[in-house]
């Protein structure tokens, strides 16, 4: 599989009064298409910061990111929004579904912000994504009417509805019971077959063990990058 992201010398610094917090302190990484990666590390090690920058939610202080052959380390806000809507998907620990929208509308949401947004097409794509996660029997339900596992499946459908290149999952099983953890992890793992790169951020070794590559972080640096 080809190279998806190349990161060189990535820095993220937060000025805090007189001091500066180096959330990322020189990160070099390469991700291929269809990789299953776990990012492991103690709290405060920079996992979320890395995910936010790679997920086009934030900009690095320094360093270069080549995404699908393009330098993307200093894009403007609207350009980054375009990448979020067209190239990446997010799965959150707390699901982050919008309570007023139906399951179908929640899943279609990323498509709403695309240039070529079309209501019928969006709906069809959302239905397809919900089928993919086995939730097509709950289209008109509200998120509050679903169990935690079901909600996370809907969230995964939302993450993949736009056919992204990369899906980020930040502690995706943190709020789930044991029975559902496996199901969600299986679901995430099954995305690789479609060429989607899956990056799971966790501090749960069991979750990390499912990935084929484990990146351990500490104090803003990559401590270990291990394939298994």
């Amino acid at each position: 599989m080809g190279s998806l992201v190349t990161i060189r010398g990535l820095h993220k610094a937060y000025p805090m009064g007189d001091e500066t917090v180096h959330a990322l302190d020189g990160v070099d990484l390469d991700f291929d298409r269809g990789e299953y990666i776990a990012i492991l590390g103690p709290s405060g090690s920079g996992k979320s910061t890395l995910m936010h920058i790679l997920g086009f939610m934030d900009q690095p202080t320094a360093g270069s990111i080549i995404f699908e052959g393009e330098e993307v380390s200093s894009l403007g806000a609207d350009r980054r929004a375009w990448y979020r809507s067209n190239r990446v998907g997010f799965v959150f620990q707390s699901f982050n579904l919008l309570p007023r929208l139906t399951v179908l509308e929640n899943v279609a949401l990323p498509l709403l912000y695309r240039e070529d947004s079309d209501r019928k097409a969006n709906e069809a794509a959302a239905k397809h994504a919900l089928e993919r996660v086995g939730m097509s029997h709950r289209l008109e339900h509200r998120p509050t009417q679903l169990s935690g596992g079901e909600r996370q499946r809907v969230a995964i459908a939302r993450a993949i509805v736009g056919k992204p290149s990369i899906v980020f999952a930040d502690e995706p099983t943190g709020n789930l019971d044991v029975k559902n953890v496996d199901r969600i992890l299986d679901l995430l793992g099954s995305l690789l077959a479609e060429g989607i790169t899956v990056i799971v951020v966790t501090h749960d070794l069991g979750v990390a063990a499912r990935a084929r590559r484990i990146i351990s972080m500490r104090a803003g640096k990559v401590q270990e990058d291990r394939r298994q």
């Binding site: 939610m57 929004a81 979020r84 809507s85 982050n96 919008l98 912000y113 947004s117």
Partner: protein, 417 residues
């Protein structure tokens, strides 16, 4: 169109938020509702009143009419009273000959309120001596088949003919009797009815009844048979163009002063003062009620802004999620602006229906108090304006909250509890 594609979900979303927070939204609308209702009701009622005023002034002969009336001498000329000859037909000739601005001049002698009799049926009405010029000056006419007005020959020969106002004709004659050609007694003297004046059907009942009253005889007959002197009570003057009013008034005053050897034994009146005082009343109403409307719309705007800010505060996480899945700042700006617009349009529509109620109530009260009052009717243009105002207020009030939503950092928004 792109903007429509983006606007549609924003508006649907706004409607949903409104539905989800009914009470809060209604409260936030109250200012707009009050503002639009008072604005529309105020404009409607004031326009209605102005309509009544205009009708009144038109009934009085319009702005092109000047009235000269006999008046006792001012204090500084009182000792010259013996020299005063009052207004006479000589003044009429003089004005006619020297003031081209005056297109018609109607000399009038008021005989007073007298009894008129037809075969035992009686009526009391005002008797006016006048000439053919009365018609153009008073803007009256005689409908076909209703006889004729007083003619120049009647003036010349002082004939005993009379023209009846429409309501007098129906008061004095039974329905099956044609008044034309009948002989009636006016203040005891025999007169032949030669014509019936046109009937005025105003919405202003009392006023049109008054205007349909009265009987008219030749001015020369009035002076010779009843008043016994050549004094005229009044002159009705008509000018072609209301813009010349002031010049005409000045010219008439100069002419008359000269004719009367400088004695100011007459007064000159126009309808402009009347209209002017109406206008003042109108602008006073507009100012005070417009102030109420402006203040309520302002408060309405603040209410919407408040609710929008509260709603954004509650939905910071939603904003974060929307941004995370690809919404731009402008998408969220549009979403929240549309929400503010939805609230204000709703408020505006409710305000319009409230204004209908207010106008209905005002009409009810006014017509109870003054039955002749013409009703105010809602004009779609005014309603559209009211709605437009509310939308503008909503949009202006929504800009700041929408900007705040647009500028939120997605990471921090997602972290928000």
């Amino acid at each position: 169109m792109r903007i429509f594609v983006r606007l549609r979900p924003a508006v649907i979303n706004g409607l949903r938020e409104l539905q989800a927070n009914k009470v809060r939204s209604l409260l936030s609308m109250s200012g707009i509702i009050l503002g639009v209702a008072s604005l529309v009701a105020m404009v409607t009622v004031v326009e209605g009143m102005m309509g009544n005023f205009k009708q009144f002034v038109d009934g009085m002969g319009g702005l092109e009419k000047i009235t000269v009336e006999r008046q006792s001498l001012p204090k500084d000329q009182e000792h010259l009273a013996a020299l005063s000859e009052s207004i006479t037909l000589r003044d009429v000739d003089q004005i006619r000959a020297t003031i081209p601005l005056i297109s018609n001049i109607s000399p009038e002698v008021s005989v007073g309120w007298e009894k008129i009799v037809y075969e035992g049926r009686e009526a009391v009405t005002s008797i006016l001596g006048c000439t053919p010029d009365y018609l153009p000056v008073a803007r009256r006419w005689i409908d076909p088949g209703q006889g004729r007005f007083i003619s120049d020959l009647d003036i010349l020969y002082r004939t005993d003919v009379v023209v009846l106002g429409a309501s007098i004709a129906t008061d004095l004659f039974p329905p099956n009797v044609d008044p034309l050609g009948k002989v009636i007694r006016v203040k005891g003297k025999r007169f032949v009815v030669v014509g019936l004046l046109n009937k005025i059907n105003g919405s202003n009942g009392m006023f049109s009844r008054w205007r349909n009253n009265g009987v008219f005889i030749p001015v020369t007959t009035a002076t010779s048979k009843f008043t016994g002197n050549n004094h005229l009570t009044a002159l009705g003057l008509r000018i072609a163009d209301a813009n010349d009013l002031q010049y005409a008034v000045d010219q008439v005053e100069r002419s008359l002063l000269q004719m009367h050897h400088g004695l100011k034994d007459f007064s000159i009146n126009t309808n402009e003062e009347t209209l002017e005082s109406f206008r003042k009343t109108q602008s006073a109403f507009k100012l005070s009620l417009g102030g109420v409307a402006a203040i309520s719309l302002f408060i309405g705007g603040i209410g919407i802004m408040n609710v929008m800010l509260a709603s954004i505060n509650e939905r910071i996480r939603e904003i974060g999620v929307r941004k995370a899945v690809g919404a731009r700042g402008s998408d969220l700006f549009l979403q929240f602006l549309a929400e503010a617009a939805v609230i204000s349009v709703m408020g505006g529509v409710i305000g319009l229906s409230v204004s209908m109620g207010i106008v209905w109530l005002m009409n009810y009260i006014l017509t109870q108090a003054i039955p002749s009052m013409a009703l105010s009717t809602l004009d779609w243009k005014i309603m559209a304006q009211g709605l437009g105002f509310s939308v503008i207020v909503g949009l202006v009030a929504g800009v700041y909250p929408a900007l705040r939503a647009a500028k939120l950092d997605p990471i921090e928004a997602l972290r928000h509890e």
